[in-house]
């Protein structure tokens, strides 16, 4: 037994790594050698080390999803890379130190040979690949229970009583469910115009948004306010007087406007975004289904508030037109309702229309972002481009 077993002082990884010229060290299986499935090797970029040291890194995902690793601003897929080589993993001597070893040291002396121990033979390691955040689920979750007139009136009736409801998500609930970094999640909440109501992140029901915007426009006309210089305090005051909660009133300005100056101490001023307001009305008109283009334009002009000028190019990525005989028809097809993973996006696009001209396709693909892949290579991967003659418009079809 003496011969085959380790017989020396544990030197650990540090001795292996600092082995001096003309010296040697015995390598043995560790007293605690085993599969150690709880030990995982993760290869990562040096630039992520500070995030690790400061504990700004989390793994996110449901049991049925592939885990992603998130820093505060980026999302990475975690992939296992196996190897047929043997990776002998050796801890430093002060980790996984078996008790008997200490004794050994005390008793007998340092004349013994140094040993470094292999704790585990690793089958490979995990590595990280930067990916686009998986945010489509956020819209689904928030759409389960949008904030509505009904709820707004309920809250007024029974103020103070806590209601238990389905489909309500706090920030912590969202980070538990959405595979995205904190900052990617925040900017998506902003892009979806979500607002925090009583601690829950909500989007507004479309009727509620209609009512809110109508009330804002109505009051602007009534009070002779300029759409380019709305005082936040005034707007909030009238909307609250009309029964909207204060934070929703403020949120309305965020949905349909831009802040022009951040008042220091005083009230902020906002400018309504003409395109957003016009698009809002266009969407509303097209909710009923497709229309003849002329009818739509006529209706649209009528609906938008005085002083705003709807232009067809505002509807890029919102509508599609098609020629039927001599008539042009228009229907709603909003890029914001499409999935954000390229494969799913292109599949829906080609279901909608088998052939796309570039000018039509561009608004529906330019928001697609895959780390490490340019938009050209995305097109190359998911579409087939044909160009009958050199000066003809290229046509994109499914691959």
């Amino acid at each position: 037994m003496e011969l085959k077993n380790r017989n020396g002082r544990e030197g650990g990884a540090e001795v292996v790594l600092s082995l001096q010229p003309h010296s040697s060290i015995s390598i043995a299986y560790h007293p605690l050698f085993g599969p150690h499935d709880d030990l995982v090797l993760l290869e990562l970029d040096e630039k992520l080390i500070p995030d690790i040291l400061q504990e700004r890194v989390t793994l996110r995902g449901q049991p049925n999803e592939d885990a992603v690793l998130c820093t505060s601003s980026k999302t990475y897929a975690v992939k296992f890379v196996g190897t047929s080589n043997s990776l002998f993993l050796m801890p430093p001597s002060d980790q996984f130190a078996p008790r008997e070893n200490v004794q050994d040291c005390d008793e007998k002396d340092s004349g013994k040979m140094m040993v470094a121990s292999v704790l585990k033979v690793a089958p490979g390691n995990m590595e990280l690949v930067e990916v686009a955040p998986r945010l489509d689920k956020l819209k689904l979750l928030l759409s389960e229970n949008p904030y509505s007139f009904y709820e707004a009136s309920q809250i007024e009736d029974s103020e103070g009583t806590e209601k238990i409801d389905f489909g309500l998500y706090r920030w912590e609930d969202l980070v538990d469910r959405i595979q995205a970094s904190d900052s990617e999640l925040r900017s998506e909440l902003e892009a979806l115009f979500a607002v925090e109501v009583n601690g829950f992140w909500r989007i507004l029901d479309k009727d509620y948004k209609d009512g809110l915007l109508n009330m804002l426009l109505h009051n602007s006309v009534l009070n002779d306010w300029s759409f380019d210089a709305l005082s936040e305090d005034d707007v909030v005051a009238v909307l609250v007087a009309d029964g909207f909660p204060c934070n929703i009133a403020r949120h309305c300005l965020q949905i349909y406007g831009h802040r022009v100056d951040g008042g220091i101490g005083g009230s902020c001023t906002w400018r309504l975004d003409e395109t957003r307001v016009c698009v809002h009305f266009a969407r509303r008109i097209l909710r009923g289904g497709k229309m003849r283009l002329e009818n739509f334009m006529e209706e649209w002009m009528k609906k938008v508030p005085e002083g705003m000028h709807p232009r067809f190019d505002m509807l890029e990525g919102e509508v599609l037109t098609e020629k039927l005989a001599i008539e042009t028809w228009i229907h709603a097809f909003s890029v914001s309702s499409l999935p954000s993973t390229p494969a799913e996006r292109f599949s829906i696009l080609f279901q909608e229309r088998p052939k796309w001209e570039w000018k039509d396709l561009d608004p529906y693909v330019r928001d697609l972002k895959v780390p490490g892949l340019s938009s050209e290579s995305l097109l190359l991967k998911y579409t087939r481009r044909t160009q009958p003659t050199l000066d003809a418009e290229p046509i994109f079809t499914a691959r």
Binding site: E14, P21, H22, I27, Y29, V40, E43, L69
Partner: protein, 157 residues
């Protein structure tokens, strides 16, 4: 669900682990197959001042070099903790508002960084058979994808 990656290493002081990487697998003689713990594998030598090493396993000698990793590798340790340190299975249903977090025992996984690897000693060539038996305790054989050392016996020195 969300797993925070804990790290108690402080500013850049993660304990450094080492990797010895070699082709194929080291196999102990069948009689020791189940008793690998504490078993001697081989002798690692640094012959000169260069970062070149030999690793002698049984009658085989591997030659390799110490290489810095292009990207560091973290050693993470997974531990399971039951929610809020509560006694397992008790009072946990009400804590879990989601319902679709399907971990059966309702325990949570924690990951902690316990080490970092920045170098490995890589033996990328096939082993060389030693003509005369080594003086050291020889404990195993190396089987490689080739038929270089298929039946190399296990010997006591």
């Amino acid at each position: 669900m969300q797993i925070k990656v804990k790290c108690s290493c402080g500013q850049g002081n993660c304990p450094e682990w080492a990797i010895l990487e070699l082709q194929g697998v080291v196999e102990a003689q069948p009689s020791f197959q189940d008793r690998l713990r504490n078993l001697h594998i081989g002798l690692l030598c640094r012959a000169s001042s260069q970062e070149s090493y030999t690793f002698t396993v049984g009658y085989h000698e591997l030659t390799g070099t110490k290489v810095p990793l292009k990207k560091p590798i973290l050693v993470l340790k997974k531990t399971r903790v039951s929610d809020g340190d509560a006694v397992e299975g008790e009072g946990e249903e009400e804590k879990d508002s989601g319902g679709d977090i399907a971990s059966p025992s309702n325990s949570r996984v924690q990951l902690a960084v316990i080490g970092i690897i920045r170098h490995k000693i890589l033996f990328k060539t096939r082993p060389k058979a030693l003509i005369s038996g080594p003086q050291t305790v020889a404990m195993g054989k190396i089987s490689t994808p080739s038929s270089l050392a298929p039946n190399c016996g296990y010997t006591f020195a």
